[in-house]
Amino acid sequence: MKLSQNDAPVMEAMKNHLLNRVVPFDVPGHKGGRGNQELTEFLGAQCLKADVNSMKPLDNLCHPVSVIKDAEALAAEAFGAKHAFFIVNGTTGSVQAMIMAACKAGDKIIMPRNVHRSAINALVICGSIPVYVNPGVNKELGIPLGMSVRDVEEAIRNNPDAKAVLVNNPTYYGICSDLKAIVELAHKNNMLVLVDEAHGTHFYFSDSAPVSAMSAGADMAAVSMHKTGGSLTQSSLLLCGEGINFDYVRQIINLTQTTSGSYLLISSLDIARKNLSLNGREIFAKTVQFAEYARNEINKIGGYYAFGEELIDKDAFYAFDKTKLSVHTRNIGLAGIEVYDILRDEYGIQIEFGDIGNILAIISAGDRALEIERLISSLSEIKRLYSKDKTGMFDHEYINPNVVLPPQVAFYSKSRSIPIEESKGEICGEFVMCYPPGIPILAPGEMITNEIINYILYAKEKGCILTGTQDMQVNNIKIVEQ
């Protein structure tokens, strides 16, 4: 029987399995929750019952031959891909599998520097060499944009031996590069195009959204279903286009992915895909409506700048994802992270992140009009009660890096830890980033400059959560001994 998007094969198999009242003498040892009362009460009995192990009727994530295979085929169909993999190691897992499938040790990969840490992590693991394209920067907002096609073209010309080009579609702030043009350019030069679509699930289910990786002809895409697609946290999709050997990709995934794939996560991907297929267009139309309304209302408050499509320049800001609600806060004299903290501590509102000059709120179909009103009114109150003079505020989020060593070489070099303040002129041996958003300020192998040191100290002072260094206090930084 041919399956349709109305089916959810994994969920259906799990329902059957539960109806059969099979006696479990396998893992997990909580045995449907009976072995851990408190956990069952907290998470719910149904959730614990559904937490099962792979078995013949439920297939196996590492080697799918039945219901997971069917569910992946339906996902591929829904996203217009040749093949789809369910990933349970987060989109970090998808990004790493994608890069490691395209590049081996010593291979070059062209990418913007404002990638998520998972991309550079993959380079540390597999030993590929990044060729960074500096993203465009919006001076007023201080944020990195997408890549300009001209810059990608130049990188390709200077590195004709590169194996792949990685593109963010969109960036955390919702900004897209000209993906179609980049795909055409890369393919002409026999390079693969890998797309980090951690924030772009909805591009597949909306006519007004920027182009998706698969419809732009890209070769692989990491899609964070759990971010805006409605599946459980940590579940993700890796999509493959025409001409990718997906049996090889599966082997690469299995190098690092768990052999005990969670059925809570797997079934959530299956059910979320079904929901998106059936209702996605309506859901995202509503999301865009909410976000556009909030943007207008926030801009009416004054001082804040909730930016949108008006910044499109058909270059490094080629397109904009209208579901993203990014708000520039520096003109009311508050760093984004300060507004982020006040929203949570004083108004009970948790947003996605605040960085030096901006905040980002994730809008989704799960929101209601009343919550949108609360966010807008709280921002209005924060301006009334907390705004101050903006002189002396740091005005940019992005500093072009000076790459001295490949990430893997630097990460595994002999190194020592010194105070960050004294690290000027040294080569960094580890990552430093604010999380979220998780875009490295420094990656292994990059030169530490005064500007970067000041940025790190400023971000710390303003209350950003810095991560990446061995030193949990982020006072010291590992430098490569030269």
Partner: protein, 282 residues
């Protein structure tokens, strides 16, 4: 026929009223709206299954939410009422000839339509020429108002669902901004007897207190509300409702009330120890 309307006051306590018949049931964009004819309490209005108004005891709530602030400052001219789709608070306000303008903000037009048709006892004065009804979110309405009202009455439902935004810090802050220098904010402030309501009541009170120099609670006894003991918040930039009560002026108006009087006005701020203790915890 053995027909009853039941509301769960907590998961272990219920209140049931015998019902003769259901008069109307509407599913609006926001909530389910029902009117029943009960044996003891007359017509009753419920929203999503929660009892809002009964013909027999609504006067207590509506008199207390309106006359306490009105008797405190005779110079109140411009009033904003948020919620109040049943019209009961408007009915009480409309008795004051001194009031020049009443803006009412109700998110759900369907509530007003149902009440006009089935609850004329409360909805009788919605056509008063001083009244303008805005069908929108209360939080949104006050966001851009500055120094516009002498009195804001928050006649909200409970702090979950539709009325949630009207118990938030951002809302009270916006109200402060929307009030004149001698402005008063009165709100429906839940009760303390059951823990689930008590937390909302404490949170609301401490948020209001963070903006207004004078922030008190007063009480009334409302048979159909959970525990029967209900609280209102009184917040003000200038007037203390105990010291500044204008009893002579108020009594000279000759308004007919069944619950409120100026002696009770003074007494209703005398709250029991359990409420004082709860408030002191903040």
């Amino acid at each position: 026929m053995d027909l009853w309307f039941t509301e769960n006051h907590t998961k272990d306590v219920k209140l049931s009223l015998r019902v003769n018949k259901q008069l109307v049931s509407v599913q609006s964009e926001f909530q389910r709206i029902d009117v029943f004819e009960s044996v003891e309490f007359g017509r009753i209005l419920t929203l999503d299954g929660y009892l809002m108004v009964t013909e027999k005891d609504e006067y207590i709530y509506h008199e207390m939410i309106v006359h306490v602030p009105m008797a405190t400052n005779p110079k109140i001219r411009k009033v904003l009422v948020i919620g109040a789709g049943d019209g009961g608070a408007i009915r009480e306000l409309a008795q004051y000839k001194t009031v020049e303008k009443i803006d009412m903000v109700e998110i759900d037009k369907a509530v007003v339509d149902v009440c006009k048709e089935y609850l004329p006892q409360t909805a009788c004065c919605l056509e008063d020429e001083r009244v303008t009804i805005y069908y929108e979110d209360g939080l949104r309405f006050v966001r851009d108002k500055v120094d516009e009202y002498d009195l804001i009455i928050v006649d909200s439902t409970d702090p979950f669902g539709v009325g949630e935004g009207l118990f938030t810090k951002e809302f009270y802050g916006n109200c402060y901004k929307a009030l004149s220098d001698d402005g008063i904010l009165v709100n429906q402030n839940e009760s303390t007897f059951y823990a689930s309501y008590s937390n909302s009541m404490k949170r609301a009170h401490s948020r209001i207190k963070s903006f207004f120099p004078i922030a008190l609670v007063y009480q009334a006894h409302i048979p159909t509300y959970p525990s029967g003991h209900w609280l209102f918040g009184f917040a003000s930039k200038k007037y203390d409702p105990r010291a500044d009560l204008q009893d002579e002026w108020w009594n000279s108006l000759g308004l007919r009330t069944r619950y409120y009087n100026t002696i009770l006005h003074r007494g209703c701020f005398a709250i029991p120890n359990n409420v004082r203790d709860e408030l002191r915890e903040n």
